[in-house]
């Protein structure tokens, strides 16, 4: 069984085999995303109780908190893919890392944006230098650094290696940065935007938050699979299987380049 599993992993780690697999599962993940999102949003807006202190505006945390969770999770997953890509030279892992970055940055931005909108009615200001918001901002900088480095290098292999190394350096530093920011925040006794919810979070609130998180998670998978399919085509465009896939379209190019075999 274990052997069979490992063969399957090996098989699908080749971009050529992963491409059709990804294409097959994408519709299913779309379905899951939409279903979870509908349920989650319905619960957030109509079922979850109104907060006794913050009124209706608190409901934005059902987007804010899952987005913040996802932003951190995605960076971690990205770094794991980068390690796999660098250590075992799995090209698909490199591609996954680069496909994850824009979505991670998007969730980080979403977390900051919803945080600001939540802060305005609650604390009367869009931005406070709270430990969590500040860390989230720094995380956004790390994502932007990763994406910029990748797009600044023309050779895709070099770009993947360099940005992968950066992701690993970043993931090692992240806990140190979080800890430092936490410390800095308590030192300056700055405002805290931690959700001032009733000590015991109602089960329905927690459930809603988890469902929203799963919805975001499925959405991430869909988008990343779509993006990685595009990256595969881009990077493998000179290989025979991509040419066969596009048959007539690619045949002109094939003659021009000549099959270098």
């Amino acid at each position: 069984m274990a052997l069979k599993d490992s063969i399957a992993w090996y098989h699908f780690s080749a971009p050529k085999n992963f491409y059709p697999l990804a294409g097959k599962v994408i519709p299913w993940f779309w379905g899951l995303t939409i279903a979870l999102l509908l349920v989650g949003l319905y619960l957030s807006f109509f079922v979850a109780p109104t907060d006794y202190k913050q009124g209706e505006s608190y409901r934005i945390i059902y987007i804010h908190v899952p987005a913040a969770w996802m932003s951190m999770l995605i960076y971690l997953v990205m770094a794991i893919y980068a390690i796999i890509g660098l250590a075992w030279k799995v090209r698909l892992a490199d591609m996954m890392a680069s496909a994850l970055a824009p979505t991670g940055a998007m969730f980080t931005f979403l977390a900051l944006w919803t945080g600001a909108f939540w802060g305005k009615p609650t604390w009367g200001t869009y931005w406070v230098w709270d430990a969590r918001l500040t860390s989230e901002l720094i995380l956004l900088f790390l994502y932007i650094g990763f994406i910029s480095l990748q797009s600044a290098i023309d050779d895709p292999r070099r770009a993947a290696k360099a940005s992968g190394l950066l992701a690993i350096v970043g993931v090692i530093n992240l806990p140190i940065i979080y800890f430092s920011v936490q410390w800095w925040n308590t030192l300056h006794q700055g405002a805290s935007v931690s959700p001032t919810m009733a000590p015991k979070m109602a089960t329905i609130m927690l459930t809603t938050m988890l469902i929203m998180t799963f919805a975001f998670w499925m959405y991430t998978i869909v988008i990343v699979l779509m993006r990685v399919r595009r990256i595969i085509l881009e990077r493998e465009r000179q290989t025979s299987w991509v040419m066969e896939l596009f048959g007539a379209e690619a045949s002109g190019e094939k003659d021009e380049k000549g099959e270098r075999k």
Partner: protein
Amino acid sequence: MLEIRDLECVRGDHRLFTGLKFSLQGGELLYLRGSNGSGKTSLLRTVCGLLEPAEGEVLWKGRNVRSQRDEFNAELTYLGHLNGVKGELTAFENLRLGGALSGLAVSEDDIYQALERIGLGGREDLPAQVLSQGQKRRVALARLLLSQASLWVLDEPFTALDVGAVDLLAKLIEAHLQKGGMAMFTTHQAVDIRAGAVREMNLDARNS
């Protein structure tokens, strides 16, 4: 000694060569030919370990060079397109620090002699940036005179050299081969090397 197995090299999304095999023994010279862009430089850089092969491996004394970098580097001298000469340092300083970096026991006399032989006598103490292109190349070549490496990998070593220097370099390579050394080089000039076993490989022929 040096063995290349099923080497494949990819630059960008272009496959330069694949399934490349050869080996080199003491006293042998590999003369690498091919048109521009056929992958000569990439092959030399892959042999040195600067480029990672897409497939295949480079073995030195039966072991992959990537698993014994320090040992392999100690026996390797590489001369690339770039001279690796610091413009702000004099020719003498360049060689002295270069020697110390590679862990060679070279005396000041050795360095002066090498510079004299390569035709830079009297210019030892000028900053390298005031030297001409050909003279800078000679500073880089003077490293070969001091080197104790058994494998010389030379990428277009004859460019920017005058006739005298081309002759001198050819003699150096011959002497190196006679001592049982190995060399690989590329060149667009016709150069006559009359020692050792000269082998040729044409990258164009392989790809067509």
